[in-house]
Amino acid sequence: MSSRIEILNDGGYRSDGRRQYELRDMTFDMSEQAGADGSAIIAHGLTQVLVSVFGPREAKMRSQTLHDRAIINVEVSIAPFSTGDRRKRARGDKRILEFASMIKATFEPVVQTSLHPRSQIDIFVHVLQQDGGVLQACINATTLALANAGVPLLDFVCAVTGGVHAAAPMLDLTTLEENDLPHVTVAVMPRTGRVTLVSMETRLHVDRFEEIFRLAGQAGSVLHKEMRAAVRERTKGVVDAMGSGLRTSDFAEDAMMDDT
């Protein structure tokens, strides 16, 4: 019956009651995961992703180590219960490998790998629940997990999906909308405004592209504020828990992050 649902009705509401430029509710959980150096669970509406980061640590495979920088290893697993119909995806699934390589390519220019030569950073992405915008959730969660692990980053990476219905652009699509609309996922580094990923798997009219692209970029900076607040709060919580006077460095970090 999905065909009977209007993507954008005459009143300007989307099928879930949002308006065009409204993003879904999001929650960030950066609490400790057993064993991981840093982790984050992020939810965009009903899409939920858990990312655990290990490293930088000594590379397991000697042969793959690089003498001047760290290597990033991304593994993605999609839980079979993440969609309505239970489907088990094999580890070697091409789609998953592609996903992993996209995430890797997104973070390679952001992580300061040259600070950790001959080491490896492992990023494990677990998709727990899917309702559209899985790639954006994975990227945002990876950003937070890397920050949580203390891996030096040049900037946040914030990803948002934008789509277009008739001539109306909209942001942060659900599965329902993704199935119906042409869409682009854009990952930006909000401080510099640089773009590290543009992924589009549907056909989109050239004339529409620029608009969507710009809009997704702007949404990235809105997201950035939210993510920064989350990181700050987490850091504050940790610092408070330690109960010590490391205030100055805390301020320094703040100063750096406010530098946008």
């Binding site: 065909s3 009651g17 430029y21 409204e22 277009v164 329902l176 119906d180 042409p182 549907t202 997201l223």
Partner: protein, 999 residues
């Protein structure tokens, strides 16, 4: 820059913001789906001047609502529930219904689920300016959103949502209105309109003002007019909405094949081709050998999923149930316009479309006459489906989303161009882009649970009314092979190509072997203007003994097209050349057709000649057949030849020979007429094209017949008959012949009856001669065109001529009814007909010129080839006619536009009534060769016995107007496009004796 925000919600909201449901996939898997919903407080109420809601969009509802209702002196708004929209759309659409309407999102979505066409009507209703309608998105407003509770049906949930919405509105109004000096001013109320008693009871309990639609309308200022619009529903009962249960079977299953075969053998069941009725989609017929009259299949259930052209097995009902054929026009699109694509699977009495259909059948039933009973029956099995790809249009109202960028899959209706076919349901992802295009759709299956067959999209042909698309769709619709010739075929052509010439005469030359040299004869060809494939030429000269030698020379195609090579195979499968108004689809590659085989003037060409010695009285003294080499002296058009013959100053040999041919032809014709040949008429028109490039039609006129036309015709007939005798004599088992069976007298019954009752004329159909004679007597002194009309109608009663193999039928049935000849074949147009090529080969063997190819000795082979040729021939004729029709339509459109521009008048033409229906007239516009329907919506009296049709005094305001078959009327012709399917349609309305636009 737009404002981008994040919609935040509380964790604990999840209960009302998440919706969980289970969905069954096509494969039967159950999937759990969870959807979220964001509730908000900024959904506006839409009332003008509301303190809290600020809206900039759209026309708002008036501050106090409508003040003109008796029960609500302080003003009110109406809030109808879903069933009101489903059942009373006419009422709400009326311009007299002026109350401001609040349309809840819940209601809107429910309407969308239940019926898309109604949803589309509702949407246009919302947009209409003089209606004050506001859509309130209650499901997104935090106060009004409801969640389905445990063991609550979706219907109950929606009803609760509607009630909640109504009570919210009422409290919203009371909260936001200012109280003046502590004194409460009376407030307008929001009234829930529902015909559901249970819902009303619940609403009253909750203190919500609510009324039934009838009660509400009774209190309105123009109640009397509005009450008429009220649809009668039996909805006073509790809960009229039946949840759609499991899929019920609409049709019965077919019997197993073994049972069918046994039944046919035992004579209990009958097998035949299914023919749909183009005027009434709920009726079809099957003609079977066991009954003289066709077996009538009335109603969807009895037709049981047969599609026009299928070979079906029918069970005949008891004689008590036999009926007369319908005399009413039932248009599928009109009756089923509100039918829904996805829901049409479900059988149920609440389905409006079915009710409508039953109504149509029932009213019609009552009107069927007792007389003229035909056997009725039902289809119990299908022997062979003759499904192919059909040219269709997409019905735009069946679309769920017309958004051009939508990638989602939709189920839509494809309406075939041919009226004989049912709508086809198909699923496509590109529906919005296909609107306004001609597309090709094939039927895949037709399940017993599905009212419509299911098909899939094959490809798009192009925009509706573009010439390319129309042309291609014609060719596809009539199954005309139109691909260019392949390499293997072109390799069979002579290697010299265009340069090929008849080699100089010599003993050793292969071309000259056993050929007569007729290059000196005064041979000429007479053809229509611009004819390129000239396949016949004639000559005549006086012999010393006073007799006349006449010769017909036919292009020697069999010299170039050798049996059993790729070109021959292709020609056999194409069967015939197809002539469209602006295009010709050749049977043979054009090098042969328009050059090497074409008997062009001034060049030497190979020919197959039939040469007679005729007495001055045009009796055949002697006939011989020979292969020859000719050099045509001139290529005339009919008009040129006529002019030359009539020019008394000219005495050259060529002119003399035309005159001689003409005198002989006249005698031949007279002889044929006395033998009882029919002079039939068919509505043939000619299209004038602007220029050869643009092919824009300029105008339409009737074809005119010259003396020279009949000259050529007579000699061709003579040649065909002579050849037929010869090849039948030589090859009694496999000769390729053509016959025209005498029509069964039952075919003429209706025409005879009409003629007798209307004009007092008798039609004698005992033999072709008698028929010809009585047709000659069908004259109306006041109306010269009457005779032609009767001839056209008589022609329609006849069977069509067919090719056959002489060994496969008994000798008594060889005759050609129309030509009154005991034997006949086609020999004279081998360039454009494949049967002629076969006749050439056989004749060539009969004169011991070339041995006959083995395949032509085999009866089964000849039968098979002729079967194909017969079919192609029929299709080609229909395609040609359809092409003319299309151009007539274009020309008409141009004419309508022109006349609108010049004097804002309509195009009117004289027409004859040829059929009467209970609710309309079939008319024939002879000037345009166009047949059309004039339908009446209002009450009329139809006298089936006398074929008259009376529009009563109440409608005309003056006096009763009676129209009968054969009456001359004036109709105005208009070309209009169907709004949904973009199918062009000729619409006729009566102008005289009475203007029917209002009827």
């Amino acid at each position: 820059m737009v404002e981008i925000t994040i919609r935040k919600r509380q964790r604990e909201d999840a209960v009302i913001t998440q919706r969980k449901f289970f969905k069954k996939t096509a494969r039967g898997k159950v999937i759990k789906v969870i959807r979220e919903r964001y509730l908000r407080d900024d959904v506006v109420c839409g009332i003008d001047g509301c303190r809290e809601c600020y809206s900039t969009v759209g026309p708002l509802l008036p501050f106090n609502g409508a003040l003109d209702h008796k029960l609500f002196p302080h003003g009110h708004f109406v809030l109808p529930d879903t069933n009101v929209f489903l059942a009373q759309m006419d009422l709400l659409e009326s311009t007299l219904f002026t109350s401001p309407i609040i349309l809840l999102q819940t209601v809107l979505e429910e309407v969308r689920h239940r019926s898309l066409p109604l949803y589309n009507r509702l949407k246009t209703l919302v947009k209409v300016d003089d209606k004050r309608t506001w859509i309130f998105y209650n499901e997104y407003r935090s106060e009004t959103a409801v969640v389905r509770e445990e063991d609550e049906s979706p219907n109950d949930r929606n009803d609760r949502g509607i009630r909640k919405g109504t009570s919210w509105y009422n409290s919203h109004i009371s909260v936001t209105r200012p109280t003046t000096r502590g004194q409460i001013t009376p407030l307008p109320s929001v009234v829930l309109l529902t015909d559901d008693v249970a819902n009303r009871l619940k609403a009253e309990k909750e203190g919500i003002p609510c009324l039934s639609v009838r009660k509400y309308v009774e209190g309105m200022p123009k109640a009397s007019q509005l009450l008429d619009l009220l649809a009668a529903t039996d909805s006073e009962a509790l809960e009229p909405t039946v949840a759609a249960g499991g899929r019920g079977a609409i049709y019965e299953d077919y019997l197993p094949t073994g049972e069918l075969a046994a039944g046919i053998k035992a004579g209990k069941l009958h097998q035949g081709h299914f023919n749909a009725n183009q005027f009434n989609y709920l009726e079809g017929s099957v003609s079977v050998p066991a009954f003289e009259k066709r077996i009538l299949l009335v109603g969807r259930e009895n037709m049981n999923r047969s599609v026009d052209g299928d070979i079906v097995v029918v069970e005949v009902f008891d004689e008590k149930e036999w009926k007369a054929p319908a005399d009413e026009v039932i248009d599928q699109e009109v009756t089923l316009k509100n039918d829904d694509v996805e829901d049409s699977d479900e059988e149920g009495d609440n389905n409006e479309a079915i009710v409508e259909e039953r109504k149509a059948l029932k009213t019609e039933e009552a009107a069927r006459r007792a007389a003229e009973k035909q056997p009725t029956g039902r289809v119990v099995g299908i022997i062979k489906r003759n499904w192919r790809a059909y040219v269709c249009h997409i019905d735009s109202t069946s679309l769920t989303s017309s958004n051009a960028t939508s990638l989602s899959q939709q189920t839509v209706f494809a309406t075939p161009v041919s009226r004989l076919l049912p709508r086809i349901r198909m699923r496509t992802r590109q529906a919005p882009t296909l609107i306004g295009q001609k597309i090709l759709v094939t039927i895949d299956k037709w399940d017993i649970t599905s009212r419509y067959p299911e098909g899939h999209f094959v490809r798009a042909l192009g925009k509706v009314e573009s010439k390319e698309a129309e042309q291609e769709s014609l060719l596809l619709e009539f199954d005309v092979p139109y691909r260019p010739f392949g390499k293997a075929i072109l390799d069979c052509l002579p290697s010299e190509g265009e340069q090929w010439v008849v080699p100089p005469k010599s003993e050793t030359s292969l071309e000259w072997r056993d050929r007569e040299d007729l290059r000196d004869l005064n041979i000429c060809s007479i053809d229509p203007p611009n004819c390129q494939d000239i396949d016949d030429a004639l000559h005549a000269r006086r012999l010393p003994n006073g007799n006349i030698e006449a010769g017909v020379h036919i292009a020697d195609v069999s010299h170039f097209v050798l049996p059993d090579n790729p070109m021959d195979d292709e020609a056999a499968s194409r069967g015939t050349t197809v002539y469209l108004v602006d295009k010709r689809i050749d049977m043979l590659p054009s090098l042969l057709g328009t050059n090497l085989c074409s008997l062009r003037p001034f060049v030497e060409r190979l020919a197959f000649s039939v040469i007679w010695e005729l007495s001055p009285g045009a009796e055949i003294v002697n006939v011989r057949f020979t292969k020859s080499v000719i050099a045509s002296k001139f290529a005339f058009t009919y008009a040129e030849a006529q002019k030359r013959k009539d020019d008394l100053k000219l005495h050259d040999d060529l002119t003399e020979s035309i005159r001689m041919l003409n005198t002989v032809a006249q005698k031949l014709k007279a002889g044929r007429m006395t033998a009882g040949a029919l002079n039939l008429a068919s509505p043939e028109v000619k299209i004038h094209l602007d220029s050869s490039e643009s092919s824009d039609p300029i105008d339409v006129e009737q074809k005119e017949m010259l003396e020279t036309n009949s000259l050529v015709e007579e000699f061709m007939l003579l040649a065909n008959i002579s050849v037929a005798r010869k090849i039948q004599e030589t090859f009694p088992q496999t000769a390729v012949l053509r016959r025209h069976l005498p029509p069964p007298s039952a075919n003429f019954e209706k025409l005879q009856d009409i003629l007798k009752k209307r004009k007092g004329l008798n039609l004698d159909v005992s033999s072709s001669g008698a028929l010809a004679a009585s047709l000659d007597k069908c004259l109306d002194p006041t109306e010269p065109a009457f005779n032609t009309l009767v001839r056209i109608m008589a022609t329609r009663c006849m069977l069509s001529a067919e090719y056959f193999c002489s060994g496969s039928v008994s000798k008594e049935t060889f005759g050609h009814y129309g030509l009154a000849s005991p034997i006949y074949t086609h020999f004279t147009s081998p360039i454009r007909r494949y049967a002629d090529v076969l006749a050439h080969r056989q004749l060539s063997a009969a004169i011991s010129h070339t041995p006959l190819h083995a395949s032509l000795h085999s009866k089964t082979h000849v039968e098979r080839v002729l079967g194909v040729v017969n079919r192609r021939h029929r299709m080609a004729q229909m395609a040609g006619r359809a092409s003319v029709e299309f151009y007539v339509g274009l020309a008409l459109k141009a004419r309508v536009e022109k006349s609108l521009k010049v004097h804002s008048g309509k195009v009117t033409e004289e027409a004859f009534v040829i059929r009467t229906f209970r609710n309309g007239l079939g008319v024939f516009v002879s000037k345009l060769g166009l047949e059309g329907l004039v339908t009446f919506k209002r009450e009329t009296q139809f006298d089936a016995e006398n074929y008259t049709f009376t529009i009563p005094v109440a409608e005309t305001g003056d006096k009763d107007v009676t129209i009968a078959v054969f009456d001359k009327v004036v109709v105005s012709i208009d070309v209009e496009k169907d709004r949904n399917t973009q199918r062009g349609k000729v619409k006729m309305t009566l102008v005289s004796p009475i203007d029917s636009t209002a009827l």
